[in-house]
């Protein structure tokens, strides 16, 4: 990705910032300024929770340039809690561990490095929800002993 293009999209890429439609309440990701549900303008930034589940996935064994050190890795479609489907790399999980419906959460990681001298691109990925030893205050969060 060109640094200028990466720079413009950094809010959505670093912290999964989407948009909300003031008309019908739909949450949009990626941001596209027009609501796909009611076709009205939707330009209000909305921070997505980052929680969702694996909708589908594929394992990449022969990666494009800049991604070699991470191969093999998993690219997945994630159904976010707020509704949108987002395509992203999974991390902290092996091909033998992933499954459809796996609860995941957003983390910000290195997407790729342009060699030893270029810019480092950071962005969202998803990982299996961290197991907690203690119950969370949020009712939607998982609880494991």
């Amino acid at each position: 990705m060109h640094p200028a293009r990466a720079w413009r999209g950094r809010s959505q890429r670093y912290r999964l910032e989407g948009e909300i439609c003031e008309g019908c309440g739909a949450r949009l990701f990626p941001p596209r300024d027009i609501c796909p549900e009611c076709q009205r303008p939707a330009r209000t930034p909305y921070p997505l929770s980052g929680r969702g589940e694996v909708y589908s996935y594929t394992v990449v064994y022969e990666p494009p340039a800049g991604y070699e050190e991470q191969a093999p890795y998993i690219v997945a479609l994630i159904r976010l809690e707020e509704g949108p489907l987002v395509s992203a790399m999974l991390t902290d999980v092996g091909p033998e561990e992933v499954y459809i419906g796996m609860p995941v959460e957003m983390v910000t990681r290195v997407l790729h490095r342009q060699g030893e001298h270029g810019v480092i691109a950071y962005g969202y990925k998803f990982r299996p929800v961290l197991r907690r030893t203690v119950m969370l205050p949020s009712p939607s969060a998982p609880v494991t002993a």
Binding site: R109, T133, P137
Partner: protein
Amino acid sequence: MYENGHRIMKPSRPVGIVGYGAYVPRYRLPGVEISRLWTGGAEPPPVREKAVPGPDEDVVTMSIEAARNALARAGIAANRLRAVWVGSESHPYAVKPSATIVAEAIGATPHVQAGDWEFACKAGTEAMQAAIGFVGSGMADYAMAIGADTAQGRPGDALEYTAGAGGAAFILGPAEESLAILEGSLSYVTDTPDFWRRAHARYPEHGGRFTGEPAYFHHIVEAARQLMEALGTRPEDYTYAVFHQPNVKFPQKAAKMLGFRPEQIQTGLLVDEIGNTYAGSCLIGLTAILDEARPGDRILAVSFGSGAGSDAFSLVVTEAIRERRDRAPRTRDYIARRVVIDYATYARYRGKIVLDT
């Protein structure tokens, strides 16, 4: 005034920790795996295992997660932070602040101080002292200090056994909103060349035995002793103490020299499980203590950075700890998330050139 009362640092407005968060990567390299490769298993490793970052992790990504955990616990919006400071000796860029990326990722930009701090393993507490001053002077209501490292040792060097990865973030704010109130801090610094890395060198050099007495023990013990003297506290007044942890033995010996019992340092002593996390070391230990502490508990935290110096902090836990600590994962949750790797995987993840033995 106490005899050395002028050496202690106290902000004019009372300050404390309003939020904290830790991060430790999931991969672990056992010490026996390193020992097997370089000495045929002849030497017992100084730590059981160490945390290793995945191929998509660095100081920036670890700082972001620790910072998000700290914000969740503080319950404040990121745009209320007036500083995001990252202390590390493994910033991914030589020129280009880690802190700007962290600040952007957590939503703290643009009205924020952002900068990287360097002082070997005490870079994080150096940032914490500055954050205390920032809030204590009234310039800011909230300031974030992070200590994080993905430390590297030369293959086969003694440091390779212990050089781990992890980080911790602290939000300093007004004492009345704090989960732990600062009683005072003290810094003790001298020019001591016990450990260094030249500008373009990949791995650090160390002064061998020189790293013990005149460096680690002298600075830690003096900083802790003088802080307690100025506050009028004694080791038995502290429920917990945490010291910089380059290995298991050093903090145990420092605690003994100061008169602390093994039980007082046990909760914060994590080096046997995650390795030496450098700028994160004593700070991650402090997060593990806050995860378990009760209101009224007093905590002593003392860092050490080669070069050399120590920062000592005395804190008292408040009632706010009860409702805040479970707003984010506990440090033990990260330590429990553990995937063992072998040396070959480690070398690939860390970009090491494996030498012929």
